[in-house]
């Protein structure tokens, strides 16, 4: 199989206007990835599946990842010549920036026909609140059907074009997305009708005791 930079260049030539970025993976696994932009993702995925040299016919794994907003400190090191003529000094300049929060989906593709892989695709949402829609790749690989439902359920990424986007592991009436890093379970989560301990104390705040019905005045 061609190398990932070659593949990126080929995709960029075939899909003008597509924003395809090579994401390097510094770990020893060296499983680098291609980050696709949402508008072209499904067309590129179809190309990856159908191209005779690639034939990435199996989408093995779909993972959602949450990246909350984070403060990053960039350190730039510069050497400043000493005006007095001594050895140049090294100067460290620290700048803080806010890395915006986002949600990410990672697809691991393999080719059963040609026996190569993985080719890793990444899709990123605009933010974590209102721009959380990404194109579904279920029309390309059916194996994403349940896995994208799981990502929707646990992370709250909405997959456009998914045939049946419902919760899959949590129950239908559940409100939040529990795999988000900032998820906190409601404090009446463990409500149960057994009168013991902290759970009961929490439950009392949410389920106040019924007001006692006035009893008949006792006759003296």
């Amino acid at each position: 199989m061609e190398t990932l930079p070659q593949l990126r260049d080929r995709i960029a030539a075939l899909f003008p206007g597509a924003d395809v970025v090579l994401v390097t993976n510094p770990s020893p696994s060296a499983q680098h990835a291609l980050r696709l932009d949402a508008p072209h993702a499904r067309a590129i995925a179809t190309f990856l599946r159908d191209d005779p040299a690639l034939q990435l016919d199996q989408c093995t794994n779909v993972t959602g990842i949450d990246w909350p907003e984070k403060e990053v400190v960039d350190v730039t090191r510069t050497t400043v010549p000493d005006p007095a003529g001594g050895a140049p000094r090294a100067v460290e300049e620290k700048t803080k920036r806010i890395e915006p929060g986002r949600l990410e989906v990672v697809y691991h593709l393999y080719s059963i026909a040609l026996g190569h892989g993985p080719v890793v695709l990444r899709l990123v949402t605009g933010n974590r609140t209102d721009a959380v829609t990404l194109p579904s790749l279920t029309p390309v690989w059916r194996s994403a059907e349940f896995q994208e439902r799981e990502v929707y359920d646990l992370f709250g990424i909405v997959f456009e074009g998914h045939p049946d986007l419902r919760r899959i592991l949590m129950w239908d009436g559940f409100k939040d997305h529990p795999m988000r890093r900032d998820y906190r379970e409601p404090d009446d989560y463990e409500w149960e009708p057994t009168p013991h301990g902290d759970v009961l104390a929490k439950a009392k705040q949410h389920y106040p005791a019924p007001t006692p019905t006035p009893s008949a005045p006792s006759t003296p």
């Binding site: 510094p26 696994s29 016919d57 059916r142 194996s143 059907e145 349940f146 129950w171 009436g173 529990p178």
Partner: protein, 388 residues
Amino acid sequence: MNPTPFANPSTGAHVRSVRSDLPGDLMEVSMGPHHPSTHGVFRMIVTLDGETIVRLKPVFGYLHRNHEKLAENTSYLGSMPYTDRLDYLNSMTNNWAYARAVEQLAGIAVPERAEYVRVILAELTRLLNHTCLAGFLMQDCGCSGTPLMYAFREREKILDLFESLSGSRMMCNYQRFGGCRVDPPADWLARAGQLVAEYGPFLDEFEALLTGNEILLARTQGVGRLSAALAINAGVTGPMLRATGVNHDLRKVDGYGVYPRFQFRIPLGEHGDVYDRYMIRILEMRESLAILRQALAGLPAGPIMNPAAKLRGFRPKAGEAYGRIEGPKGEIGFHLVSDGGPNPWRYHVRAPSFINLTILEDLCLGHTVADAVIILGSIDIVLGEVDR
């Protein structure tokens, strides 16, 4: 329709009951979640036309405990015992898949002896899983008891081996990053060799009971056919995929561990029906025995753990890795994302029986309810892994 009495107290939402407003002869039936044929807590909402299935939607999540969130809040090593509880029949292969993902993430080498021991344990696990599956499948066909008892008798012998090696029958927690926890002593290896020698005759006996059995043939042949194209596209792996005739086994494709050193064949099916899925597993057990004989004979001496591997205070550098092995149910993989901390930033399980369920509806359409039971049985699900 009256609301179900089991409303969720935090949201007030009611679980949707089955529909009663379908046109004509259609009827919606809820199979499960508490039903002996569903192999755990699994529900199928089935729309029936008479006895024929016209729509089937699986509902699961009853065992969901957010395994992945638990793993994000514990150390890398701390997740190892939790992986036992995914597919609780096959804890040894779950351990191996997770250890392999971490080894890829951090670049940890594994000593040769440990690789051999891992192969021995993985193939024993495959024997036990496939034996149980054949027994359960017969139970689903209605042969109540006998085949399953034979299967469980043999399974118990393998579990005895696991117990004497790891201290636990099913929750083994045996693999470590860079090797295995304890070195199998010589008498353990002798007992494993004896089990392997006795397993072939057991399989002969088991097959004499089942493979040519007229009831089994009538119930399974031509039922739940899966095409190779759909199987690949839907991410189906393991014996399910090979029953459709696709030659794809990660032991050959990836050649991980020391598998390339062993001579074994990959059984392939032709029709992709329930019978092929049963037969593939029987044949795979014979190949597993061949691997076991070679691995036990060729087991080298040496360390069982990489001495450079660090277990406590383990912090892999930032990066990510997807590690996968051929589990008995299919491709079991772990996707780990590290931010350089002591806990994984993201830990995702690629559970084979979860993804193999994608095509359950396609397999069941046009068949009867009784066939849906054996189709589900032939997929070989474990709800601990599906629901995570």
